[in-house]
């Protein structure tokens, strides 16, 4: 069954073929045929990132990485190599000589994951093993800041690599410093909740999915740990292409965000449902599909569960900044058409 046939069968909110009560949103469902369940529902999933890793309780990045890499493993028939940038994901998974990775995996530097991955892909081609596919992965710091040059080069050369960024919105591994993916208003170690405009400044930052699209690479997508089916479909789709591909996954960080470990998925869901983190796909530089919001919520719902935004609720000036954040969410909803029933994936 190819992906399009699968979509026709899947009881997503867009195509209610049969009523299964859950299954559209839950990981699995005993009533669904085996081939329509998620990779994560599989009793024999790879568990690419195995137990015993040292990520914090409720780590969204650990979860997102297993979701994505397990899906990529299934999509490539286990013919996969992963290249990892420095960051939490690398540090918590591989304290020498232990590793949590159950796949071929390589780490080099903080800023060069994209370049190393380009090299691995070239090596596979030269060795006559083009079916061995390459994934590069890193945090937002390693992707949107220090690794950005290598990443842009990989895009521009259209190297045969899927790059996955796990966005926890700061440099978490070194103690929560601001990155170019840190949202306005957020308190980090380097943007304390002090002064006239406490927390991270408004009006800056960069949107790497949109920058990736500007390179006109074949496939760009955003995903969230709150929507497993959507995430798996995007990783699977990405593996159907050759050339440079990019997926940006939103992964809450209980430590850095000051949230409860048990709330990780809830918070990721609120980011999507408020419009702050739009889920979409782009082909050849054009948005081709978006995942509609199911039950719209105000940004407050998302912000108030995180201590990094607590100061915004404490003053009138903070309230004004929340209004700005709401305006950003509303603009996303408008620009991406996130409330349209007809929002479909191509």
């Amino acid at each position: 069954m190819n992906r399009h046939e699968k979509l026709m069968e899947l009881p997503t909110q867009r195509q209610p073929v049969k009523f299964y009560q859950t299954g559209t949103f839950t990981v699995g469902n005993r009533l669904l045929p085996e081939n329509l369940r998620s990779v994560q529902a599989d009793i024999g999933r790879t568990n690419s990132l195995n137990s015993g890793h040292r990520a914090c309780q409720g780590c969204g990045e650990a979860l997102g990485a297993r979701y994505a890499i397990d899906a990529a493993m299934r999509a490539t028939d286990n013919q996969l190599v992963a290249v990892n940038a420095t960051g939490c994901l690398e540090v918590f998974s591989t304290p020498y000589p232990e590793t949590s990775w159950q796949i071929p995996w390589i780490h080099s530097l903080f800023g060069n994951a994209a370049a190393v991955a380009s090299g691995v892909a070239a090596a596979q081609r030269v060795r006559g093993r083009p079916h061995v596919r390459v994934v590069a992965q890193g945090g937002d710091g390693g992707t949107t800041d220090i690794g950005f040059g290598c990443l842009s080069g990989m895009f521009e050369r259209n190297d045969d690599v899927l790059y996955i960024c796990y966005d926890n919105e700061a440099y978490m591994n070194t103690g929560v410093q601001r990155s170019s993916a840190t949202p306005p208003g957020a308190r980090t170690a380097t943007t304390p909740a002090l002064g006239r405009e406490p927390g991270n400044v408004s009006g800056t930052g960069k949107n790497v999915p949109l920058i990736a699209m500007a390179h006109r690479i074949p496939y760009v997508a955003t995903a969230s740990v709150a929507n497993l089916h959507d995430l798996e479909l995007k990783v699977t789709t990405a593996m159907e292409f050759h050339g440079a591909r990019y997926i940006h996954i939103h992964v809450p960080c209980p430590l850095g965000w000051g949230s409860l470990p048990a709330d990780t998925i809830r918070i990721a869901r609120l980011a999507v449902e408020s419009g702050l983190f739009p889920l979409f796909e782009a082909r050849d530089g054009h948005v081709s599909a978006r995942t509609p919001i199911r039950r719209k919520v105000a940004v407050d719902e998302y912000l108030k569960l995180q201590k990094r935004f607590a100061h915004l609720f404490a003053s009138p000036a903070g309230r004004e900044r929340i209004a700005l954040i709401q305006a950003t969410a509303d603009r996303n909803i408008e620009e991406f058409g996130l409330l349209e029933d007809e929002a479909t994936r191509g």
Partner: protein
Amino acid sequence: MDKPFAITLDVGSSLANKTGSWRAQRPLYVDRLPPCNNACPAGENIQHWLYHAESGDYEAAWRALVVDNPLPAIMGRVCYHPCEGACNRGQLDAAVGINSVERFLGDEALHRGWKFDPPAPSSGKKVLVVGAGPSGLSAAYHLRRMGHAVKIVEAGPMAGGMMRFGIPKYRLPRDVLDGEVARIVDLGVELELGRKVSDIHKAMQAEGCTAAFLAVGAHIAKRAYIPAGEAARMLDAVSVLRGMEGDDKPMLGRRVVVYGGGNTALDVARTAKRLGATESIIVYRRTREKMPAHDFEVEEALQEGVLIKWLSTIKNMGDEGTLTVEKMELDDKGFPQPTGEIETLAADSLVLALGQDVDLSLLENVPGLEIKGGVVQVGANMMTGFPGLFAGGDMVPSERTVTVAVGHGKKAARHIDAWLRGTAYVAPPKHEIAAFDKLNAWYYADAPKTVRPMLDLARRTSTFDEVVSGLNETNALFEARRCLSCGNCFECDNCYGVCPDNSVIKLGPGKRFEFNYDYCKGCGICVSECPCGAIMMVPETN
């Protein structure tokens, strides 16, 4: 040393790092009590039988259902379904149509001829049951399944009690009743019809029983003093409805007035309409809000053209068929008070539907009984003040519904069984209720309730055809799948998927899951994301 350059140690797995030691609290799988089960007077495990119905295994669903209640096809028609009032789904869109799925399963069983599982090996003990209404039938069924010999003695010509001689056919077709009674008799229950027990001691001695279950119902119509002329036609509801079972239907005339505000009054008024009355008027002394009858029944009666005079009492009935009616008004305490305002109503007959009393004559020689408010008092074990004599249904303090009667029968059977073995039945502790706030409703897809088609109105008022028809297989399956499975794992794989530490072990279909406490860090995501509230966090003790 055969290692690559600069490598000194073998590759190790992170499995060596038992992150379970970080944990301050641990997740536990639990079964919470679904609110529907909690509300069911017959103690049905609704969520459990719906679970089987969801997968289309209707026979397994029916078998799970009849563990508690042997009359699903009847229940699916006459039960007032408090389960649906309690259903958590009601807070999402509309309650699950539990009652309609129950009826579907009951009908399916009759249609396919499913039989009960055979009884347990014979205990060598025998129990006498007096009365073959729902309570007596239920007790007999449960006692028989436990392996006891059971004899029911019933005064009437047929089994069913008020289900046959009270509830009209258009709500409970008699082939359905006959089918479900026959299945109980087929279990090996002895049923003797047409014998009224007049002395319970003698009857027990004659049958060689040390234990008996009494379920004689409440059949004596209550009267109100209404001065009436010689020729006035005044009847009581119970006799009118009982008369419907014979060949000569009651003669009520064209203008019928029914006095009372319970479900019985409505049944009589609706029956009168079907017998050809042009006017069928209910006179009730309070308001619609205060009426004990269920609102959906009032609604159905009004749709059929029954008229209701609220806040009115009947003063007297004259020979020429005129009723004097006085208007009432509610005082501050909500009690109706006379206003002195009088009107007259033409009536060919007046039917009193003012409730029923229990005929206690068979208990005259029994010592130790406590009778209060005309009903027999029983303990928590359904035993009367006389050892070995148990009672249930309408003759004991109760809400007087078929479902309560069935529940009494089941409860009494468990205690009688223990009593016969010289022990006491101890009910297992009740689980915590799976309240709505224990669920994560995000995961449930939106799905409106399937509404059972109503018989076309015109057809309904002229015939005794069943008013509400059933679900077919497609919408029964749909309806069953609307169940949220409150408090009980339904294997959605969420916990298995959302654990960042792979600490949930999937055991395979039907076997649910297990935690791997070697690695579980106690983050609690599984608890937050469990749709049905079947996991809870508890503090680590060491």
